[in-house]
Homo-oligomer: 324 residues x 2
């Protein structure tokens, strides 16, 4: 494939997008040349998806192309950044035009939705893997961070939790809606921008709520108590659980708490700003739910609405994978 | 390995470097937060190295760690940029502490040499592959580009050519010097900076002189004539060829023309600036050689010092790999 590397890049990945004015040189030179507006800070993140690890070997090219970019845009969303540019490293065992077309179509559909221009990358032969670096911009000093939460702050999540996890669960009859949650997660870019200056801390939920909220809390040595009955669950999620019968009962709590791949935002807000945050998110049609409160005592405690404690069995993507 | 992913990153890749003042947030948040000085343009490039494709399975962890960063810094050099930040995606079949330590030590040794701070990345389980994105800075409008050469411009290369190619060649007894050229290429950062405002076009030689000069020429629909006897060859290269006997004779021309992995710069200079360019490069102890001249007629022509044409058998990395 090395010989046709340049052709592949040219054919599937060049000249498909209108140029952003801040791209001085995109694909085709030794490197991309980019202009960062004065007063903006640059936000960069990189994620790799490997076949058989981050997606099943059966995943469609479209799902892989979308998700490789989406997981990175989700990180930008968690920082309150607006996406600008992406680079893509694609490692492929063979050069399959149908696969490449479907991959590129999905990648660019999401990129175009968010004004992201592909400015460079690399195509190599090898076991299927995709690395994307996303570049975003945020007004200097206004980025959302993982640190910054304070005791008394309310803990919020956007959207619903557990959908992607349920789609991955063995024995579930997966509805198209659940499958779409897993394959085509929508990064919460608008929500991240709306939360600038309002949220005290934010993170995106890629490894599971408990794991990711844990990362947020550890920065400031804090803890939280969560209300597990109010965790937002979609109708599709509830219906999917019912199809599992008794086995579904434990998952009602476990999946929203511990399953990864939802790519919702988890963020904290001082009480006095909660109504403004809710107003802003309602304005952009982004559902949000208060699920708990930040406390001084380190650790995450879970309560049922009855007041009884709930003890999670799983605690994040990794354990979930082993147990599930 | 997923479970210990965070530990691996923390242990081997965090807190090893003094922080650059333009890194607002490095490893540890959802994304890195970086400050680009007003008046600077951002230069970004990404390269992936896959085991068995870009380096032999026998390559040492140190060579892989160095080269993964070096090939990207070489792209920055070709743009005249000064390196600033890097991100690293490391896909590993197993988590081997000795391997990781040697990889990280070599990566950071090169990074520290060039003032590069690692600001983020990803560690995943899978077949061995390394993706690095390098970020550099260049005064706005001063980046070197592949386009810009004009008929009459002299064609230069830095250093010597063919060393890495010879080290890869079957049957060669590889001296430590040649092996080092292959495993530990030194990106020509200082040369790139010195060429700002002087060179009319530049590219780094990763795929072989003919292939890469060809990329440079195609931008402006130009051609060049090269003097194949003056191509710069190291003493180690000449000695290595002698050990091959008659088989070495053809390689005397073919390797400097067509072998990849040298990571020298190839650049063009208008005649009136040649003495200034040579003075600047001498000042930083960077050898350079005039190897030809840009012409209107597309294509690359090769001449011996006798005036006879030389017809290359190979034309770049890809063919070289198939034939060699």
């Amino acid at each position: 494939m090395a010989e046709s590397e340049f052709d592949i890049i040219q054919y599937y990945f060049s000249g498909r997008q209108p140029g952003r004015t801040d791209v001085v040189a995109g694909i085709g030179d030794d490197a991309a040349l980019l202009s960062v507006a004065p007063g903006s800070e640059l936000v960069v993140c990189m994620d790799t998806l490997v076949a058989g690890v981050h997606f099943p070997e059966s995943a469609t090219a479209a799902a892989i192309g979308h998700k490789a970019l989406a997981v990175n845009l989700s990180d930008l969303a968690a920082m309150g950044a607006e996406p600008a540019w992406a680079t893509l490293s694609l490692t492929l065992p063979v050069s399959d035009p149908d696969w490449l077309k479907a991959f590129a179509d999905a990648f660019f559909a999401l990129a175009d939705n968010h004004g992201v221009q592909l400015v460079g990358g690399d195509t190599t032969r090898g076991p299927l893997a995709v690395t994307v670096q996303a570049h975003g911009l945020v007004p200097a000093g206004q980025a959302l961070r993982r640190r910054g939460a304070r005791p008394g702050d309310r803990v919020y999540v956007t959207g619903t939790l557990g959908d992607a996890g349920l789609a991955l669960h063995e024995g579930v009859s997966v509805s198209p809606g659940l499958q779409a949650c897993l394959d085509f997660p929508q990064p919460r870019i608008d929500a991240g921008v709306a939360l600038r200056g309002q949220a005290s801390a934010a993170i995106d939920i890629s490894d599971g709520l408990l794991a990711d909220l844990g990362h947020l809390l550890e920065y400031d040595g804090l803890g939280a108590t969560l209300q597990v009955d109010v965790l937002p669950r979609s109708e599709e999620f509830r219906a999917g659980l019912q199809s599992l019968g008794a086995a579904g009962e434990a998952l009602f709590y476990e999946l929203p708490l511990a399953a990864g791949d939802d790519y919702e935002l988890c963020f904290t807000v001082p009480e006095e700003r909660c109504s403004e945050v809710e107003r802003r998110l309602a304005e952009i049609d982004c559902a949000c739910t208060v699920i708990g409160v930040i406390e001084k005592l380190p650790g995450i405690r879970c309560n049922r609405s009855s007041g009884e404690p709930y003890h999670p069995v799983l605690s994040g993507y990794q354990h979930f994978n082993e147990a599930g």
